[in-house]
């Protein structure tokens, strides 16, 4: 049943851009873009709409890995690698451990869904405003995505943006210590330990 639904959705998404590619309307890069964009949008919709909480988190993982494909289309391989490692590796594990430790129950936990239509309206309005704003601009001529030289990326990151880089490492250190400090079980006070010993 689920496989049939996936086949029904995936067939037009693959066939229509393929037709356009064969008819020389779009380039091969744009065909790949449409496929990856479809995976991203479907994954994001799954992450915000699926009631089963584990399914929603796995849909997020699919979305984040497909975004790495977008970065490859934009010719920044380093960022695609970073995306797969950090989001596909770290964030996934973090979210799934969080689900495990909070004994994930399916969402909606409560039957009150009164704000879902409001949220849908505001979300659609936001998407509409942003899309119109983007399409209204006369962007520069289509030079296409330029390849980012990797050596210059390193020079730029460590020389021009050296201070934000150090601050970012400080942010990670604070997050590490803070997460351990917040989430660990608090130890009993020494007086309580002494009382337990004398009883």
């Amino acid at each position: 049943m689920g496989g049939l639904l996936v086949a029904l959705v995936a067939t037009p998404i693959v066939i229509v851009p393929l037709l356009f590619l064969v008819l020389d309307e779009i380039s091969a890069a744009e065909f790949v873009f449409w496929l990856v964009a479809a995976v991203i949008i479907l994954g994001a919709l799954g992450a915000v709409l699926l009631p089963n909480i584990v399914h929603a988190t796995l849909a997020l993982v699919v979305t984040l890995l497909a975004v790495a494909g977008i970065y490859l289309l934009l010719s920044s391989e380093f960022l695609a690698l970073v995306q797969v490692l950090i989001f596909g590796g770290g964030v996934t594990i973090l979210l799934l451990f969080g689900l495990m430790m909070t004994k994930a129950q399916d969402d909606p936990i409560v039957s009150d869904g009164a704000q879902k239509p409001f949220a849908f309206g505001v979300g659609a309005l936001l998407a509409g405003v942003l899309t119109v704003a983007v399409l209204d601009v006369e962007w520069a001529d289509e030079a296409g995505a330029t390849v980012v030289p990797f050596r210059e990326l390193g020079v730029r990151l460590f020389r021009d943006f050296g201070i934000p880089f150090e601050v970012a490492s400080l942010v990670l250190l604070v997050a590490l210590i803070g997460a351990v400090a917040i989430a660990r079980h608090s130890e009993p006070e020494p007086e309580e330990l002494a009382e337990e010993r004398t009883e």
Binding site: E30, V48, V67, T102, A127, V134, T146, V148, L157, L172
Partner: protein, 101 residues
């Protein structure tokens, strides 16, 4: 490939994440939706860097920092959610409506 493809994709993704933040009741799924929004901004930045700024590509540096801060923020937010769960035995954000109990 025109740049509008990437920008409209980022806009739609941002709106989907925005809907998720408003509509989800579990704290962890709200964090998932925030991650979607941050990824959308990241796509936007990298598209700008690749198309409009090919010799200084500041957007890619920006995207690296977005990914870093997103990971740190997710770790801290999950620590808070764990603490909340330990006290209340529930991660439903509708029930977290007292400043102190």
């Amino acid at each position: 490939m025109p740049i509008e493809n990437f920008l409209v994709l980022a806009a739609i993704l941002f709106a989907i994440g925005f809907y998720g933040v408003l509509a989800r009741r579990s704290a962890i799924l709200i964090l998932v939706s925030v991650e979607i929004m941050l990824t959308a901004v990241s796509i936007n930045m990298v598209a700008f860097a690749s198309y409009l700024d090919p010799d200084r590509f500041t957007g890619i540096i920006f995207a690296i920092f977005i990914i870093t801060v997103a990971a740190a923020e997710l770790a801290l937010a999950l620590a808070i959610v764990l603490r909340l769960y330990r006290t209340r035995s529930s991660v439903n954000v509708d029930e977290v409506n007292l400043m102190r109990w």
